[in-house]
């Protein structure tokens, strides 16, 4: 299978010209199958033909880690692992575990922690604040002030209230908006790439407060 791929995969045009008619369809089919298998086996999102909302959000949560630069002096950067924390009632369930399990970010293995106290959040790189913590939000954010923790939540008005990244739903599609001022105040550098794909970016600080 590999050799066929090597021989014909690189130049479909040549393949079309060279191969006999009866073999062509088979080889084409073969090639496509191989390509699909290749992507499926290695891709992160490949098998999610119809991923549910939290599966996408889990992946995003992980991916945010790629586009954020943590300050070296910050607490979270000091550890030997890359802790991703969930505070409040966990909406992901096992999905988050399977998504983050065995992954690494910033050269460190990703560690999932479910916490309940805001003080515990100081050690996290990424903190997902469950919508159940809406009432304690102010408390949590204040506790994290300038500690260099990326805050993510899907509760409405999160970014307005000083959160950094808030999940949105545009129909089936999961999107997010960013409060850049909050991130900057926490000395986090968000990649322009991330800003590019954000549904909106708030740069005026805590305008809502």
């Amino acid at each position: 299978m590999l050799s066929a791929n090597e021989t014909f995969g690189s130049r479909p045009s040549v393949q079309r010209q060279v191969c006999p008619r009866s073999q062509c369809s088979f080889l084409q089919f073969l090639t496509i199958v191989i390509a699909l298998t290749f992507f499926t086996a290695t891709g992160l999102l490949a098998q999610q033909a119809k991923p549910n909302e939290y599966q996408v959000k889990a992946t995003y949560l992980y991916n945010f880690g790629r586009f954020v630069k943590w300050p070296d002096a910050a607490g979270p950067a000091k550890g030997d692992s890359f802790p991703v924390c969930v505070i409040g009632q966990d909406p992901f369930g096992a999905i988050l575990d399977s998504t983050l399990g065995g992954e690494a970010l910033d050269g460190k293995p990703v560690v999932l922690r479910r916490i309940s106290k805001p003080h515990d959040a100081g050690e996290c790189r990424i903190l997902f604040i469950s919508s159940t913590e809406e009432k304690r939000l102010k408390e949590i954010l204040t506790a994290l002030d300038e500690s260099g923790v990326l805050t993510v939540s899907d509760m409405p008005g999160f970014t307005r209230r000083g959160g950094m990244i808030q999940f949105l739903l545009e129909g089936d599609r999961v999107r997010f908006e960013i409060n850049l001022a909050s991130a900057e105040s926490a000395k986090l550098v968000l990649s322009s790439e991330l800003l590019k794909v954000a549904a909106s970016v708030k740069r005026s600080g805590r305008s809502g407060d």
Partner: protein
Amino acid sequence: MATQQEHSISRRLTWMNMLVSGVALLLACTAFIAFDMITFRQAMVRNLSAQAQIVGSNSVSALLFNDPQSAENTLLALKPAHNILYAQVYLPDGQPFASYSRDPGRHAPVLPPIPPGQTETHWIEDNQIALVRSILLDGKPIGAVYIRSDLQELYGRFLRYAAIAAVVLSACMLAALLISSVFRKAVADPIVDLSKLARIVSQDKNYSVRATPIRSFAELAILIDAFNEMLAQIQQSERALRIARDEMEQRVLERTAELEAAKKEVEEFSHSVVLAKEQVERGSKFKDQFLSTMSHELRTPLNAVLGFSDLLADERYGPLNDRQQRYVAHIHTGGKHLLRLISDILDLSKIEAGRMELTREDVTVTSSFAEVISALYPLAEKKSQALLQHVAPNLHLYADALRFKQILMNLAGNAIKFTPEGGRIELAARQVDDQVRVEVRDNGAGIPLDQQQRIFEAFVRLAQTGTASEGTGLGLAITARLVELHGGKLGIESQSGEGSCFYFSLPLAAIIPVEAPQPSVSVSRARKAPRILIIEDNAATGQLIQSQLTSSGYETLRCDKPERAMEIAAEQQPDAITLDLIMQPVHGLEVLLELKNDPRTSKIPVIVVTVVDQPGVGTALGADEYLIKPVDKATLLGAVERCLLSRGGAAPARAILVVEDDVSTLEVIVELLEAYGYAVSTATDGEQARASVAQFLPELVILDLVLPKLSGFELLAEWRSNPRTADLSVFVLTNKDLTKEEEKYIHAHAESLFRKQHAWREPLIKQLERVATALSWEKT
């Protein structure tokens, strides 16, 4: 042509120059452009690859956060690159994620596969470069970029290069042209000059010209020097040649002049030869003419002399006394001698002129001898000489029969003449080898040795003979010449007092198949003999009568059966009939009666030949003659002749026409004929004769050949071709010397030929009697 040749070398140099530089440049340009194209294409690919990479890395977040809009924004960055036809970002599962197209309406292709282990691949199709690149994140593919670019830039670049190359090429060609013109001056011009010079030398033979020496090219310089050197040598040798040639020319001119002079001499000489030849020919012609005139002009009066002297001697016009008779005899003898002399002279001159033609044939020697001896016998008898012959049997000669006889006659005649009375003359012939030796020997006085050689010359006669013999002195000369003409030689053996022997040898006749004689020639025109029917039942008697009649020249018919006699007579219409009386089963008288009563046979005279002595009965029954057996020949012939005469008498008498231009000869002939009782009419030229015959058909014509206005030959031919005169009897009487052909012609077309130079009267009368008796007896 010349200019073409002149320019050919320089033109070729130019061409070569341009060709070489052109090809070199073309190759260089091609290589350069090809290299550049390859390089440029690689650059394009690299460029595309970079663009794909940029697009890829800028699309990572879009892919990760499922934001096609962002990816499309990234792709839009490709817009300023006009060569990008379209670009597309794919999800890892091959689904299109975001796309960009330069021209609207493009559809995203299915993601082409990337070979494993590679992140990028590219290919060229439809004049476009396609490139696929994986988008990797942490070494894992999260999507792919596909970019497709057209090659317009490449082609544009190629066209620009081609244009530049063309310009450069043209410029180089121009430069090459300029450079080659410089080269031409240096290399080609001297060569062209040299070739021009060579042409001048070869065409004008001008060896004084020299090529201009050059120093620029060593080989060319050597060539030119060598050429000049060669010219100098040629000039030198040519000068030497010219001098030699001038000398030669001078000599040729001299020699030509000499030859011209010699030629002129030869021409003059040949002209004089031609003149002389013409003179000789004229002389010879004149001589021939003279001879033939003489033969005619001399003989004609002689014939008159002889004829009249004959008539006088016959005493027809009164008796002559002895003296007169003697004188007439002298005249006759003299005339005959003269005639003979003339004939001999003509013969001799004919032989000497080489105009004697021999008609050779197979001659039986025995018969020739017999004829000669019978002719000469009377002469020999007169002198009481013995004339003997010894001829081997079956000897045949190849010779002219007439001339052979003439030879024998002359020799034997001489022998008789010169041998005293009571002598002996022997003629002998025998075969010696393949020849026949003929000898004529006598026992006369013999011929002295000193005269033996002269004897064959003309007009030489032996002195001692003394007698006034009739010889002309030409006989032996003619004889000797005739023998020579036959290829032999007449010799003589003689001793004084012992007689002499003349001998010669002639070739034996080869076995020559005798040509069948042509009927037209051989059939004599002699008149048909009277035909007699013999009616006789006794064979012996019939045969006797038949032999008696046949021997006298009659034609006979025999009838053994009297009962058929009437039938035969009516059918055959004989001129006369002899009839026996005592016959079985029918009696002769019955036959006679029948014959006389039948109108077909009543006019035929009948001679009764019988033992019955009753002439009265016979004549009463109409028999014309009645003869009683045994009948002797004379009686029978007399009776037959009488009968024939009486029968012929029934026809009206017709005259004999004598055609003769010489009046005296004509008178002689007329006298002669009238003396024998013939009716005669005359004509003195051909036209008269023709008119006379046309008017009234004569019984017979005596025709001279040499006639004014119309010759005898022409008359004869005319008469024979006309049916009315075809059977007319013609006797030719002439003194013309006839050629063989003429003689043949006359024999074929006339009844008889008589020659005036020979004795002709008696034979003529005899012949006349046979042919024309009917007339004469009627008249008398």
